[in-house]
Subunit: 597 residues, 2 copies
């Protein structure tokens, strides 16, 4: 068979070459031409327009001055373009990671703006270094321990937290808190102080942006515009809201009337910054940095995979770790904060026709241009407008239906979603993630510690064995066929002992027990001791123990043990062979009606 | 088939009746006769003689006054006799649990003897309540997460720690520390102050006890004594050492020459005590109490199972939880400290012919008699003699060969033993246990997150499919048979996606992918999403996805999902059926030599 040698042990193939971090631009840069440049440039313009308000807003969400958002959207994009394996991923500040950053650096806010910003740099550096190490060590699979339900619950809860945290800006009051109850209590206390003009601006901007999202594209289409430009124009809604409210704020001097505006943003390219090398700070930020890195990686890889599949391209997770790690290190040295690949932004980049990471380089150029030339015009921009863009962006991430879907499929998946969701809202982002992972692992371990063990019999007319309780099958009272539906390891070894004891006690005529090992993918030392115990107990009762359909890797390991040498029965290639040899009368029964099933 | 309905879903049988804590003495008490009483009484006498020095020594090991050991050997034995499911388990203070108690209550030593002893009572109460709760909730399986390698490494390391902790008593110096480096450093600093007479007593007692253990029985046998009395006499060695050294110490007034003696032990029955109900104390002791409870349970159940099997009796783990829980609660209210079933002691009880838990009741009576009448005679007993009995008892628990055995079988089991062993010695008992569990879980998760995925083909002349790399099998380039050797869950869902992508990319003629699901015991929500992704990608490439040999419980769950409705292929009962229908040419090849394998 073609390719059999390549794929027989699929996860054993020598993959080392692919894990070596490579400069991916050497690949896409070859043969880069004018057409590709035109496509990339168009995408870059559109993403730049989308990214300006987002980067400002997410910097404020993280608790940092707005220019940090611009800075985090320049060097990191260049770094990603060098190493990234996705052609279309758009890197920069994103909502959930900014929220996690806010939570992680909040304790340093009291030490002054410099210490606060320094913590953000250190967080980006640590997170980047961790991603680089994970990438080089090929540990991208670690991210799989964040199950889909956990991610889903986490993103929804984070989005609600983010939206709630923006309410204070929309209402023009001061409030804070790192979980929903504290945020709401703090907001409730401030309600008498609502600044009504700010609230009016915020509410109008929010309503406008929702309308742009839902109603503008159909309207443009009904006016005869083609689908793609209509789509792109709808994405520019936030820029429109910014232009209008900034102009109004300037014209009517809203700042003097108490509306919080963005204010003076230093013009110029990102500064070179040195993250603080303080061991105590690094130790305190280690866990948040790891969580931010992994969440960012998961979010980024998930959109990357989806978009790559649409164009039949491949995403290399460990290469992505390296690229995102480099991006965050770049952010740390250029006045930024943790970044990752954004979902909405990457989809826009893809839809706008981006062909290569050069689109990211051009976007970085666009943002650089904005931070040099555009910042004075943002002076009068009301912060409430940015809050509105954030609220509208994140609310689309809330997916409460996942609770219903997981409930109907599996209670343990539901428990993981619900635990993550509730813990994130009530305790905070880090606690939410950790609770979710703990709950999903606990349920997984609980399940595997109680293996399903079926008594099987022969399906008449075949060589196939199935559960006696679910299928009409043939069996002999002299032979017990047990199929253990789980790998044997310390947590379930005793359960097998109990099951064999019980099954044997109920069968006085029993002479043979055959363990069908189709579902046993590993046997650890504890389980081996249990098998030895079972063997000895059966031997004492005059019953022989056989194995069938033992898998190659399991057999390789057993070969070195006393267990196989002292086995009272045989190891059969197929379960049918075992039954054929030990109780041929069962096979004879295939012709006649079975007496005892 | 007889009993099929009872055992088909072995772990689903309605077991609720068995889990209800029952007063087991109602069962064994029925028909209790004179012969049984005689057997139980003989065993009780021998166990009492063995238990007196042990209980005194283990109390000192735990850092408590010696009489606490006697108290812990009365009421807990009665409680166990009421609830226990083992006929021969001998409950009381044991070495490892006493060491763990010492570590847990050490922080309270500075607050005075009353607070220190109160912490021991609270620890016994908490540990007992936790065991009761686990028993009632049928969570005995939790103990399985302490794998055999972890227990083995922990017991060996604890035994070394205990022996090292007794060196100070054997040398007549003051030293302390809760891990091996601290103990040894502290001892080394005290070496100039060795009390030579104490050292001589300790060394002589140790040498004598080792000789009794190894040499006395053969000697007695060579004198013509029968095996059982010789064995029993050898077990009485510690009592002999105590009698001799206590008499010598009294005759020569060693106490006045600086030998530490047991001193005044209050005579009388155990006092009624109330453990301190202090929330802060309880919170601090919660983790040690849980670990002590679980370790005690595991040690107790392991010897209980072994002995029950020898007489074809059954041990009910959840009933044992209740019984050990009740024993510890009893200890907490009668001036004791945490107890469990002891290994050596239970074996002696068994060998001496104990028939029922009445032996335990009689032993309790014997210890009560001793604590009323015998304590004055123990005044002059050198503590070094007790230390010697402990050292000789625990060194037999050290099993370093487990390192070699696990190394040769599996590196991950070795890592778990080694981590437990090293962490226990270097960091302490709690850290050692927690490290061991963490390492064994981490390896288990790592393994299941990288599933073995095999391309399989038909073994000629059978209906059986095996790995194309290990067996000479038949296959078609139009059909890919993949067998995933692991349940699909969040940690490995992505690996399946990658494997299918890779295998499909290598097979241009491919029309069908059939997943043989023999080893898939569960599919969680994350894995279901991955299957949906695979289905869509294959559909886009014009390839149909089929499943075969899906297990009952998995199928039940899939039935509710869109995945099955949108499946491009079919679900076959057997993999052979799938190949038969989709690529009959492969079966035709069974007659002719296969073209491509």
């Amino acid at each position: 068979m073609d390719g059999a040698t390549r794929t027989g042990g699929l996860n054993r193939a020598p993959r080392w070459r692919r894990w070596l971090p490579s400069l991916t631009f050497l690949e896409w840069g070859r043969g880069y031409g004018r057409d590709t440049l035109a496509a990339d440039a168009l995408a870059a313009v559109i993403v730049t327009i989308m990214l300006i308000p987002q980067s400002l807003g997410y910097a404020l969400l993280a608790g940092l001055p707005p220019e940090y958002g611009l800075y985090a959207s320049i060097a990191p994009l260049l770094a990603y373009a060098l190493f990234g394996s996705s052609r279309v991923l758009a890197v920069g500040p994103v909502a959930v990671v900014s929220l996690m950053t806010a939570a992680a650096i909040a304790p340093y806010a009291n030490a002054g703006p410099a210490a606060h910003a320094g913590a953000a740099l250190a967080l980006a550096l640590l997170s980047g270094l961790m991603l680089l190490v994970l990438g080089v060590l090929r540990l991208g699979a670690l991210a799989n321990f964040l199950s889909h339900p956990v991610i889903s619950g986490f993103i929804s809860a984070s989005a609600i937290l983010i939206a709630a945290s923006q309410l204070k800006t929309l209402l023009g009051v001061k409030a804070g808190g790192d979980n929903l109850p504290r945020l709401l209590v703090s907001l409730a206390g401030q309600l008498p102080d609502v600044h009504w003009l700010t609230f009016a601006i915020g509410a109008a901007a929010t309503a406008f942006l929702f309308w742009v999202r839902k109603g503008l594209k159909p309207l443009l289409l009904s006016w005869g515009m083609r689908a793609r430009p209509a789509d792109m124009l709808a994405k520019a809604g936030p820029v429109g809201a910014i232009a209008v409210t900034a102009t109004l704020a300037w014209a009517f001097d809203w700042s003097a009337r108490g509306v919080h505006v963005v204010g003076a943003i230093p013009s110029g390219l990102p500064p070179l910054t040195l993250p603080p090398f303080d061991p105590a700070l690094w130790r305190d930020l280690a866990v948040p940095a790891l969580l931010i890195g992994i969440v960012g990686f998961v979010e980024s890889v998930s959109v990357g995979h989806t978009l790559a599949a649409r164009r039949r391209q491949r995403l290399e997770p460990n290469q992505e770790l390296v690229a995102l790690g480099a991006s965050n290190v770049a952010a740390a040295f250029t006045g930024g904060f943790p970044v990752t690949g954004g979902f909405a932004r990457s989809v826009v980049n893809f839809d706008a026709g981006a062909q290569t990471p050069a689109a990211g380089i051009l976007t970085a150029g666009g943002i650089a241009l904005a931070s040099v030339a555009l910042t004075p015009t943002l002076y009068h921009l009301p912060q409430a407008t940015l809050a509105a863009t954030i609220v509208v962006a994140v609310l689309s991430l809330v997916d409460l239906d996942v609770l219903r879907r997981t409930w109907s499929y599996s209670r343990s998946d539901f428990a993981a979603v619900a635990a993550t969701f509730v813990a994130t809202l009530l305790l905070g982002v880090e606690q939410g993630l950790v609770s979710g992972v703990a709950v999903s692992l606990a349920f997984h371990l609980y399940r595997t510690s109680r293996p399903h063990i079926a008594v099987v019999g022969l399906v008449p007319g075949t060589q196939h064995f199935r559960n006696v309780l679910r299928h009409r099958v043939l069996a002999s009272p002299r032979l017990l066929s047990l199929r253990v539906d789980e790998s044997l390891y310390f947590a379930n070894a005793r359960a097998l002992e109990d099951a064999v004891n019980e099954a044997v006690a109920a069968r006085p005529q029993l002479k043979h027990v055959v363990l069908q090992c189709t579902a046993i993918n590993a046997i650890d030392a504890s389980a081996l001791e249990s098998l030895e115990t079972i063997l000895e107990r059966l031997r004492a009762a005059g019953i022989r123990l056989h194995l069938s359909e033992v898998k190659g890797p399991v057999m390789d390991r057993l070969q070195h043990t006393d267990f196989l040498r002292s086995l009272s029965g045989r190891v059969y290639l197929s379960h049918y062979d075992a039954v054929h040899e030990l109780t041929p009368e069962v096979l004879a029964g295939q012709e006649a009606p079975p007496q005892s099933v």
